[in-house]
Amino acid sequence: SAVISQKPSRDICQRGTSLTIQCQVDSQVTMMFWYRQQPGQSLTLIATANQGSEATYESGFVIDKFPISRPNLTFSTLTVSNLSPEDSSIYLCSVGDRARGYTFGSGTRLTVV
């Protein structure tokens, strides 16, 4: 299965700033997925990123708040912009398919102060 390198592992950010999270995959993949896990909660899908097209966002998530880049088949970034304390969460990227399951990055723990 694919190996994902996710950076940074954690960060503390000021309100109003932005954080960009990177995921590098060791093989080419068609789709990459971005999730948010709020404290003590389960994972919620933010968006699906395909190379060469706009990301598809889930209900409740918008591109202005969570812009995503997918410049090639092995890399993607998620930016969480205009940070507020409510954005404090773990953010995870994932790749895979419905036949075999999914691999997740190690997560980025974001704290907004």
Partner: protein
């Protein structure tokens, strides 16, 4: 709303005992997957069971699926301290966009 509901929310057992976690879901699925998360880090894929399968084994893990009841269970036998983690079920719909929907998770603590 969340597709999956898991119970118990938290489970604490002694090392060597078996741990059983349950997951219920609401709509049709293509498959159901179980994941482990240690200390709020990344998720590790444990096992995938397809909608036409009833039981699957992987080492000390046993997963069952009952599509008529829309439920699944994960059994960990002979538990170890290293099994302490949160366990999530996730469902994948039979058609349409790939999209995992996660349950709320069970926090498992194995006491030495």
């Amino acid at each position: 709303s969340q597709q999956g509901e898991e119970d118990p929310q938290a489970l604490s057992i002694q090392e060597g005992e078996n741990a059983t976690m349950n997951c219920s879901y609401k709509t049709s699925i293509n498959n159901l997957q179980w994941y482990r998360q240690n200390s709020g880090r990344g998720l590790v894929h444990l096992i995938l069971i397809r909608s036409n399968e009833r039981e699957k084994h992987s080492g000390r893990l046993r997963v069952t699926l009952d599509t008529s009841k829309k439920s699944s269970s994960l059994l960990i036998t002979a538990s170890r301290a290293a099994d302490t983690a949160s366990y999530f079920c996730a469902t994948d719909p039979p058609k349409g966009a790939q999209k995992l929907v996660f349950g709320q998770g069970t926090r498992l603590t194995i006491n030495p």
